[in-house]
Amino acid sequence: MEFSSKIVSDAVEALSGFPGIGRRTALRLVMYLLNRPEMEVAKLAESLIKLKTDLHLCTFCGNVSDARVCDICNNSSRSNGILCVVEDFSDLMAIESTRQFSGRYHVLGGLISPMDGVGPDDLSISSLVQRVENESITEVVMALSATIEGDTTLFYIGKKLKSLPVKMSCIARGISVGGEIEYADEVTLGRSILQRTEYNL
């Protein structure tokens, strides 16, 4: 694609770096923006800049926040003693929207994956250990993906917390709610049988 304007070409170039957006789609977005009022485009630009200038990571849990401490950590009605460890803030949001968890969070910022150059020091693991030591935490709930990286990170954190007087649990994995056994994959089904729970009337 050859453009008569360097300005258009720069904008297309920048947008086509987004995940899932190719040059053709980028050009369509540029055309769209050209047809919008200047105010609206300025607002968009401002909101994008703010992502970098005004957004904080909560000093306690690492969640994204407009203030130095996020709303969850600030909320005194949430229980103090229980921490839920998640990979990133989108996982945090997913758990939050279930309304089933009333403790606080700890965002790791990724999972251990040497292939991607991510080691324990790149994640907030030592700050997790510190919190457990200092904030009188009684239970750490590990809510990580059931992948090799998730399991490895789970084990590594387990090692680090082992000597501390804290209970560690991890979220149950098994047949999805409303799922039929017939359609569950064998590995999930096998695991569900091994980790079966007592049924109480």
């Binding site: 040497p114 150059g117 080691g119 680090k160 064998e186």
Partner: protein, 361 residues
Amino acid sequence: MHISKLQLFNFKNHESLNLELIPGVNILTGNNGVGKTNCLDAVHCLSNGKSYFTSLDSQLIKHGQDFFTIKAAVGNAIDTQDTTEILLQFDKGKKTIKKNGKNYPRLSDHIGFIQTVMITPYDIELVLGNSDERRRFMDLLISQLNTEYLHHLMVYRKAVEQRNSLLKAWSGRNMDDDLLESFDQKLIPSATLIHQIRYSITQEIIPIFKRIYAALASTDELVEINYSSPLHENAMQDLLKLNRSNDLFAERTTAGPHKDDWVFELQGNPLRKFGSQGQIKSFVIALKIAQYRFFQEKLGKTPILLLDDIFEKIDESRAQRLMELVESEGFGQILITDTHPERVEKHLSQLNGEHNHRSVG
């Protein structure tokens, strides 16, 4: 299950080809390069969703064209009225498979509908090639019977890959033991299971293999398959401990099921060194027919047998016994290619069953 009609469009050298096939033995003859092997590969594609020879689907399109299709009418042995139409199409970089005109949601849902076992001259690599070839053969064989095995194979491979990256990343520094252990504990259960399943399947397949080799060779040639793995002596956990300093030095995981091998022997000697070309070929044929029998026993399905240039290198009496074997009860549809029409005819004329001779090209 058998293919009663095979139609190719722009598939490899075939611009348009129609083949009528019978449920029993089908012979495809023709000179070098007419496209006999390509016909078998088309059936392999219908079965597995990909070619026997390449994983690049674009190479299967006839040069100068931009799509190919493989269409087959699949008949049911019990109810002859009941036919299923399977259409595999590759167009604009996209592969689709339709069953009776309906797309499968996922290509993998089709795999297993038509089972095939293919034997080609390239399969001697199983004997002559390095251990990768034998692991690939066994892993594929077992995965088709056991999906849990496939899962553990994938977990193991990924965990080893991560562990190797870790060993590289920490090169020259003092290893974080907790971190290394995190990967070890992830790969240990999968490694253990892979070894167990490989061991038991190998034990099960050996007697079937030996019986078929004996029937084919009709001599007292002693054949043996030895599954070799350090896991016979050491649990994976101990193996990792034993090799710790090796691993740190080599910056990769040096021992484990990813290094397993199957040693093929003839009269107590390694086949790859001491086998004649015909003996090696006979060994491979017997191994593949054992795989076929194994599927039959385990899955209750009769695969289509695809025999490419099967008479090359084996002597007349072995060829004759092979035909007797494949024509005997229990074998389903068979497709055989050969460059010498008279040779196949001669072998088959002495047998009872009906056969269908087609010339290609």
